[in-house]
Protein backbone atom coordinates (compact mmCIF):
# COMPACT_ATOMS: atom_id res chain seq x y z
CA UNK A 1 0.00 0.00 0.00
CA UNK A 2 0.96 3.62 -0.42
CA UNK A 3 0.78 6.35 2.18
CA UNK A 4 0.99 9.97 1.12
CA UNK A 5 2.07 13.08 2.96
CA UNK A 6 1.39 15.54 0.16
CA UNK A 7 -1.59 17.82 0.54
CA UNK A 8 -2.53 18.73 -3.03
CA UNK A 9 -5.79 16.89 -3.90
CA UNK A 10 -5.16 17.06 -7.66
CA UNK A 11 -1.69 15.51 -7.34
CA UNK A 12 -2.97 12.92 -4.87
CA UNK A 13 -5.71 11.88 -7.25
CA UNK A 14 -3.29 11.38 -10.14
CA UNK A 15 -0.71 9.49 -8.09
CA UNK A 16 -3.22 7.31 -6.24
CA UNK A 17 -5.02 6.47 -9.47
CA UNK A 18 -1.72 5.56 -11.10
CA UNK A 19 -0.84 3.15 -8.31
CA UNK A 20 -4.25 1.55 -8.55
CA UNK A 21 -5.03 1.51 -12.25
CA UNK A 22 -1.96 2.59 -14.14
CA UNK A 23 -1.06 6.03 -15.42
CA UNK A 24 -4.31 7.85 -16.35
CA UNK A 25 -2.54 9.73 -19.11
CA UNK A 26 -1.19 6.46 -20.49
CA UNK A 27 2.23 7.99 -20.64
CA UNK A 28 5.25 6.86 -18.73
CA UNK A 29 6.33 3.51 -17.36
CA UNK A 30 2.99 2.73 -15.71
CA UNK A 31 0.81 3.57 -18.70
CA UNK A 32 -1.85 0.87 -18.88
CA UNK A 33 -0.35 -1.22 -16.07
CA UNK A 34 -2.55 -1.63 -13.03
CA UNK A 35 -0.65 -2.35 -9.84
CA UNK A 36 -3.84 -2.47 -7.82
CA UNK A 37 -2.22 -0.69 -4.88
CA UNK A 38 -4.43 1.08 -2.36
CA UNK A 39 -3.38 4.58 -1.42
CA UNK A 40 -4.07 6.42 1.80
CA UNK A 41 -3.19 9.83 3.11
CA UNK A 42 -1.61 9.92 6.54
CA UNK A 43 -4.42 12.16 7.79
CA UNK A 44 -6.83 9.25 7.22
CA UNK A 45 -4.83 6.88 9.38
CA UNK A 46 -5.02 8.68 12.71
CA UNK A 47 -6.89 5.85 14.41
CA UNK A 48 -4.23 3.35 13.29
CA UNK A 49 -1.29 5.26 14.73
CA UNK A 50 -0.33 5.05 18.42
CA UNK A 51 -1.50 8.26 20.09
CA UNK A 52 1.92 9.24 21.37
CA UNK A 53 3.51 8.95 17.92
CA UNK A 54 0.64 10.89 16.35
CA UNK A 55 0.98 13.65 18.93
CA UNK A 56 4.71 13.93 18.30
CA UNK A 57 4.68 13.74 14.52
CA UNK A 58 1.29 14.74 13.21
CA UNK A 59 -0.52 17.02 15.62
CA UNK A 60 1.48 19.94 14.29
CA UNK A 61 0.72 18.98 10.67
CA UNK A 62 -3.01 18.73 11.45
CA UNK A 63 -2.96 22.16 13.02
CA UNK A 64 -1.25 23.70 10.00
CA UNK A 65 -3.69 22.26 7.50
CA UNK A 66 -7.10 23.85 7.15
CA UNK A 67 -9.95 21.54 8.25
CA UNK A 68 -11.62 21.90 4.83
CA UNK A 69 -8.44 20.80 3.09
CA UNK A 70 -8.05 17.77 5.36
CA UNK A 71 -11.63 16.80 4.52
CA UNK A 72 -11.04 17.33 0.79
CA UNK A 73 -7.89 15.19 0.93
CA UNK A 74 -9.65 12.36 2.75
CA UNK A 75 -12.61 12.49 0.37
CA UNK A 76 -10.27 12.40 -2.66
CA UNK A 77 -8.51 9.30 -1.33
CA UNK A 78 -11.84 7.57 -0.60
CA UNK A 79 -13.04 8.31 -4.12
CA UNK A 80 -9.94 6.84 -5.73
CA UNK A 81 -10.22 3.72 -3.60
CA UNK A 82 -13.83 3.49 -4.73
CA UNK A 83 -15.36 3.59 -1.27
Amino acid sequence: MVVFGLNEPANLRIMATTFKEGDPSFAGALGGIALGLKSYHIFELKSEIPAETWAGEMAFEELQTEDELIEEICETMRQVRGE
Partner: protein, 41 residues
Protein backbone atom coordinates in the same frame (compact mmCIF):
# COMPACT_ATOMS: atom_id res chain seq x y z
CA UNK B 1 -4.52 -2.24 9.36
CA UNK B 2 -0.92 -1.15 8.84
CA UNK B 3 0.77 -3.91 10.78
CA UNK B 4 2.85 -6.24 8.62
CA UNK B 5 2.04 -4.27 5.49
CA UNK B 6 4.78 -3.18 3.10
CA UNK B 7 4.33 0.53 2.53
CA UNK B 8 5.60 3.05 -0.01
CA UNK B 9 5.74 6.56 1.45
CA UNK B 10 5.52 9.78 -0.55
CA UNK B 11 6.04 12.93 1.46
CA UNK B 12 6.35 16.60 0.58
CA UNK B 13 8.60 19.01 2.34
CA UNK B 14 5.99 21.74 2.69
CA UNK B 15 3.15 19.36 3.66
CA UNK B 16 3.98 16.20 5.60
CA UNK B 17 7.52 14.91 5.19
CA UNK B 18 8.29 11.30 4.33
CA UNK B 19 10.09 11.04 7.66
CA UNK B 20 6.98 11.93 9.68
CA UNK B 21 4.83 9.51 7.68
CA UNK B 22 7.41 6.75 8.04
CA UNK B 23 7.56 7.14 11.82
CA UNK B 24 3.79 6.85 12.01
CA UNK B 25 3.67 3.81 9.74
CA UNK B 26 6.44 2.06 11.64
CA UNK B 27 4.84 2.84 14.99
CA UNK B 28 1.71 1.12 13.68
CA UNK B 29 3.70 -1.97 12.71
CA UNK B 30 4.08 -1.32 9.01
CA UNK B 31 7.30 -1.83 7.06
CA UNK B 32 8.41 1.08 4.89
CA UNK B 33 10.02 -0.29 1.72
CA UNK B 34 10.19 2.96 -0.23
CA UNK B 35 10.37 6.54 0.93
CA UNK B 36 10.67 9.81 -0.92
CA UNK B 37 10.10 13.41 0.09
CA UNK B 38 9.69 15.82 -2.76
CA UNK B 39 10.61 19.43 -2.69
CA UNK B 40 8.53 21.19 -5.29
CA UNK B 41 10.57 24.32 -5.19
Amino acid sequence: MLSDKKVAVFGERDDVTGLAVRKCVEAAGGEVVYEATSCFV
